[in-house]
Symmetry: C2
Subunit: 199 residues, 2 copies
């Protein structure tokens, strides 16, 4: 069986990452989302191993010490991390693992796992991103300006990414993500090595 690969999807708040990823998961049965670990308590309805692995702080620190995370960070008092074991097991089973994380975490993983494919979702333009944030209606004008600023900073930090998918329409963005996954499986790897071995 063909081993899965790891794909990281980053992109600004408001760009529509969630919608695109959801459509991709419906399209491709060989793709799954990575499940993160966190020290924040579960919200009603959340289940361990589904939305997150819920760990107490001591266990989390223990996992950090045992190098069990591909990346981890602290955010407003809670710890979050990507457990290696989950990702590796899924890939061994032939699943392509999708991680939705920010650029900093992505670059951290790319150092440890240079074969990881980094994809950044872009809005068609900065004006369009602003328009989408306004339409969403959840943020104050100040908050929207902050999000825009952060989006531009993320993009600037993402220059080592291999792919940039413009989310103009969801259909087109999903088609491109799907194509990137298919194309990346045509990279030199186990199969070409077997063919070389047969020479």
């Amino acid at each position: 069986m063909k081993k899965g690969k790891m794909f990281i999807v980053s992109g600004p708040s408001g760009v529509g990452k969630g919608t695109v990823i959801k459509a991709l998961l419906e399209l491709r049965k060989d793709v799954c989302m990575s499940v993160s670990a966190t020290t924040r308590p579960p919200r009603p309805g959340e289940m361990d191993g589904v939305q997150y692995y819920f760990l107490d702080r001591e266990t989390f620190q223990d996992w950090v010490a045992r190098d069990e995370f591909l990346e981890h960070m602290e955010y407003v008092g809670n710890c979050y991390g990507t457990p290696k074991r989950y990702v590796d097991t899924a890939m061994e089973k032939g699943q392509n693992v999708l991680l939705e994380i920010d650029v900093q975490g992505a670059l951290e993983i790319a150092v440890k796992r240079p074969e990881t494919v980094l994809i950044f979702i872009l809005p068609p333009s900065w004006e369009e991103l602003e328009r989408r944030l306004v339409l969403r209606g959840t943020d104050s004008p100040e908050k929207i300006q902050k999000r825009l600023q952060r989006a531009k900073e993320e993009f600037r930090a993402a220059q080592a990414y291999q792919y940039f998918v413009v989310n103009d329409t969801v259909e087109e963005a999903v088609r491109e993500l799907d194509a990137i996954m298919t194309a990346e499986h045509c990279r030199p790897g186990a199969r070409t090595e077997a063919m070389l071995g047969g020479l």
Copy 2:
């Protein structure tokens, strides 16, 4: 309008390149084949600018001297070359240009145009390639062994290629070629530079 890109497809005789490329050209209207120039006389039904640009030897040498070719070679007394102008005009018009050439010519082009995407079509196994060559029924057993040997040499020489498409079924191979083209258009380029410019 989005500029086209150049894709080179190489692969052994008998692997089914022709069938796969034909199906791809039917699938994607934004792909065209590069038209080569040659000094060999046209065969009945061949038209200048369609199958080949038919040049006399003097004109061909003149084009070589004026650096009009991306690559050129001589084969059993005739010269063949890939004219830059044709390729560049097509790309300017948004067409992805497909070149079907051998590994040596491909690597020559890759030096001059490092943005060229190199794709090698592989058989599912060497045994399967042999079986296909036998089934084709056009070659003697000795000739088939020579073709197999040449196929393995080409593959060994193609280790700098970015993609390896296994032609197991035509449908799957076309799906992968199509995906590679779509994915390569998500590489950093004019669009991401425009977004960076807007920062």
